[in-house]
């Protein structure tokens, strides 16, 4: 059963703990292709197809991703309002946004991040604390903010609660 979780943002580190309904902390788990031991879940490589298997709910996470990556706003499960004020079907969203949204709504699969843009990866890490993401094994540039941001990410056998620390890891230590 998938439970509703709080989403994250620029909040104090001290209030960053996200709990499931069972009180167990969960994290966005990032794997590196060809390097990490994958969980016993199917790997979905085509995010455009995966995105067609669920509907947006209009939850805080959906709205934050649409705002942060697309500069757009949620209208309903089928439509969003883009940065120019046009109402478009959600299948017009970028592949990066679809990846970020699939992570949250399809926790039963490992989602490929091969098409994830750097901005989308950064926003996903900031706001998503569930799901499984498979990335190509290389270094990544994760843009930090003036003030550190609380995150909840498992990667390379380590837990990251700070965007700054995670950014350093992805640039310096991630397999590449």
């Amino acid at each position: 059963m998938i439970c509703n979780l709080e989403v994250k943002g620029s909040i104090p580190l001290s209030s960053s703990i996200k709990l499931s309904y069972e009180g167990v902390a969960m994290s966005l788990t990032i794997y590196f292709d060809g390097v990490s031991q994958l969980p016993n879940l199917p790997v979905e490589k085509d995010v455009e197809i995966l995105f067609m298997t669920f509907k947006l709910s209009g939850c805080d996470y959906d709205r934050r991703i649409l705002s942060a990556i697309e500069q757009s706003s949620y209208k309903d499960e089928l439509f969003f309002v883009d940065r120019f004020g046009s109402t478009l079907r959600v299948d017009c969203l970028s592949t990066g946004s679809k990846t970020a949204l699939s992570l949250y709504h399809r926790r039963d699969v490992v989602v490929s991040g091969v098409e994830l843009g750097m901005n989308a990866l950064t926003e996903t890490v900031k706001y998503c604390s569930v799901g499984s993401l498979l990335l190509p094994a290389r270094n990544y540039y994760i843009e930090c903010e003036l003030e550190d941001v609380a995150i909840d990410v498992m990667c390379g056998g380590r837990h990251f609660a700070s965007l700054d620390e995670f950014s350093d890891y992805m640039m310096e230590e991630a397999p590449g």
Binding site: K45, D46, E48, Q71, F84, S94, E115, A120
Partner: protein, 125 residues
Amino acid sequence: MIELTKFRPVIRVNLEPGVYTFVKDSADGKSYLCHLLRKLSTADNRVNSYTYSDKSVFSLAQLFENKALELVMLDRYDMYPGEGVAEIAEFSKGGIVLIDSKNYEFPLRVTTCFLTMSANEMVIV
């Protein structure tokens, strides 16, 4: 340089022939550009595009068989990495190839290009 000004949004590609990859960000309008170029290809056979879902219909090599082609955009190239590299290299001697690739390392000379979009215009430089 190619300008498609008869249609809306106007598309301006201010580039010389060669292979270009976009900045590795999401949601800057690449897939929309791909969609527009495919639609426009029926009215202007100098332009076309290709994406992962085309693979089941025709090959990337077949796209380059159109000798009138001057501008091609390849969307979602990470889903078919390495495909058509020889054809891309040959075509780029006289035409412009725009590629959406976040991870593939091309064995060709590749330059970064930038896409800016407004409600009425898309500009690639």
